[in-house]
Amino acid sequence: MASQTDSVYVTLVSSDGFEFIIPRSAACISGTIRRMLDPASKFSEALTGRCVLETLNGVVLEKVCEYFLYNEKHKDQVNVPDMEIPAELCLELLMAADYLDT
């Protein structure tokens, strides 16, 4: 695959094969993904623009992507509304937050 370092979108893949295509700037809110996609690192993720997150399943990754876009949208806003998190997901999301450094 051709180099996609400068593409606007990146693909996040969950452990069970779901793919989420989100803006690169949103994905880079996560410190871990930012380092993965850093062109200077020469990781394969940086070359292909495709990150496989083996520790996250599809349900959690969907919520994580929702959070990325939520953060992107409300970055400079004064009154940030709360993000709804279903009770059964919050512990897994906390683990994901720890892993993704966000």
């Binding site: 809110i29 994580v64 959070y67 939520y70 953060n71 949208k73 409300h74 970055k75 400079d76 806003q77 004064v78 009154n79 940030v80 709360d82 993000m83 998190i85 009770a87 997901l89 919050c90 512990l91 999301l93 906390l94 683990m95 994901a96 937050a97 720890d98 993704l100 450094d101 966000t102």
Partner: protein, 520 residues
């Protein structure tokens, strides 16, 4: 001291009647002062001088019924026992609940009279809880309440003093409290609360019973306290038409409470008067914000070094009109380093002019801010709290650990950790997690975070002091100095020009770096 009229030594205020010293067995030692009394004067937490008494306002009753002279004191008088009662100074405060009996008035008297002379710091030292004299109140109480060993106790003069000032206390409570057994105090407190609930009495006095903790479930029933109408006694006076809205007053003064974390006090939405005077508290939880009806708060004679921002919020947005915070172990403003004076108070021109006017009193290193004319001053500035200075800002990372510099992007959106912690803190049963369960059931990486969520649930979630949003992990914190003198004297007196400001330290926490003040 170079006062022209020498003040009487402070001891004389307390040892008013020397004849009481001649108790059986203590006659020889009547002239000597117990050593613990001497020691307690050496270590001082005395941080400022004020003429404001820190005690709860006293109760007075009037003699405005015509036939109530001394000569016919016992004569049956029509309407006897219905004297008006005044709260605060006798020369003109509001009449309080006139239905209560005179016996309640006597019960309200405390061992500690609370009169504190601002001109005489030796007296204040002795009533502040220093390390050495930390058990002062307990010893006193045990001595007072233990009828078996009145003379053998090494601090027998305490007994004399206490029984002199509060003759009723010993009699009315000796039967209910036998000793320092924990459950006894709780039983007594429970009995007091049950009585109040039964009679519809909204004046709950749990003062001076040596409480160390507030057991769960003790205060919760007070949420449902209902006042009873009193229409059975004829003739009906105007006082019969008092409000049935409970004016809940809770006195926890002169106890040994060390912390109020996760306390049920903060569930009492109707609480209007709260006294925590003379306890061993080291911090006031942010959850005090929930007491939106609070009008009078007394937290003097504790071990506080800072106040939560939420207390200032209650003064600005809530009902809080009278805050008694001194004496306490607050640092003084000139002891704190890297202070930035706020607005007009740090103006170097003003400072210079100030020092020219005052002579040798003010040295350049000890600048004392005063209330003066400045641009933009408005009439209400004489009463509202004034921002005097700010301390340095401390930043925390996404897990709440201190970081040196803000190297990451400043975003006002919460971190994913914060978002999920907020959700976790809302889960049912989080507050009941024990430490063992935490360690067994959760991955090691997130245990400290879940402990934070548990704390947020137990103490009530905190609010950002800038944007009012809820947060679990504070991202930045700093101290702000605000002058609240009108609130400290109960709004009786406004600031006057040239008055020295005596700011109190308030700790501010915010939810994101975007809410922290800009780099200076």
């Amino acid at each position: 001291m170079d006062n022209e009229i020498p003040l009487p030594p402070p001891r004389r205020v307390r040892y008013r009647s020397p004849s009481r010293f001649a108790l059986p067995g203590s006659g020889s030692g009547s002239g000597s002062i117990p050593s613990s009394f001497h020691k307690s004067r050496r270590f001082s937490r005395f941080d400022d001088r004020s003429s404001q008494p820190s005690s709860d306002p006293a109760l007075f009753s009037s003699d405005d019924i015509p036939a109530s002279g001394v000569e016919n004191y016992h004569a049956p008088v029509e309407g006897a026992g219905r004297k008006r009662r005044y709260r605060g100074t006798w020369w003109g405060e509001q009449v309080i609940d006139p239905k209560r009996k005179r016996a309640d008035f006597k019960e309200k008297r405390n061992v500690d009279s609370g009169v504190w002379m601002g001109s005489d710091d030796s007296f204040a030292e002795s009533c502040l809880p220093s390390e050495d004299a930390s058990n002062w109140g307990e010893d006193l109480l045990k001595t007072v309440l233990d009828p078996r060993a009145p003379s053998k106790a090494p601090n027998a003069p305490y007994l004399a003093r206490a029984s002199e000032s509060t003759p009723i206390l010993g009699q009315s409570r000796a039967t209910t409290i036998q000793g320092p057994v924990e459950s006894e105090e709780h039983k007594y407190a429970k009995a007091v609360i049950d009585t109040c609930l039964e009679r519809g009495d909204d004046n709950v006095d749990l003062g001076g019973i040596n409480l160390r903790t507030i057991p769960p479930g003790l205060l919760r029933p007070l949420q449902h306290l209902t006042k009873l109408p009193s229409l059975q006694e004829a003739p009906i006076s105007e006082n019969a038409y008092s409000s049935l809205q409970p004016f809940l007053r809770l006195y926890l003064s002169n106890n040994s409470l060390t912390n109020l974390d996760a306390s049920e006090i903060f569930e009492l939405k109707d609480l209007t008067v709260l006294s925590l005077r003379n306890n061993k508290l080291t911090r006031i939880p942010e959850a005090i914000r929930k007491l939106t009806a609070l009008q009078v708060l007394n937290i003097s004679v504790n071990r506080l070094s800072e106040l939560p921002w939420d207390l200032l919020w209650l003064m600005q947005q809530g009902e809080l009109k009278h805050l008694t915070a001194r004496p306490n172990s607050f640092p003084t403003i000139d002891e704190s380093d890297s202070i930035e004076w706020h607005g007009p108070f740090g103006n170097p021109d003003n400072e210079d002019r100030d020092m020219d006017e005052d002579d040798e009193d003010v040295t350049p290193s000890k600048y004392i801010p005063t209330f003066r004319d400045y641009e933009g001053r408005q009439a209400q500035d004489e009463r509202i709290p004034l921002h005097v200075a700010s301390g340095p800002v401390e930043y925390f990372d996404m897990e709440g650990r201190p970081v040196n510099a803000r190297d990451q992007i400043v975003s006002s959106a919460p971190s994913l950790r914060e978002v999920s912690l907020r959700a976790i803190s809302r889960l049912p049963g989080v507050e009941q997690l024990t430490d063992e369960e935490l360690n067994d059931e959760f991955p090691a990486l997130v245990i400290p975070l879940i402990a934070l969520a548990r704390r947020a649930r137990q103490e009530g979630i905190r609010h950002c002091s800038v944007c009012e949003r809820e947060f679990v992990i504070p991202r930045a914190a700093w101290t702000e100095w605000w002058d609240c003198t009108p609130h400290e004297n109960g709004m009786k007196r406004a600031r006057v020009l040239g008055e020295q400001l005596r700011p109190l330290p308030f700790k501010r926490s915010v939810c994101s770096w975007a809410c922290a003040p800009r780099e200076r």
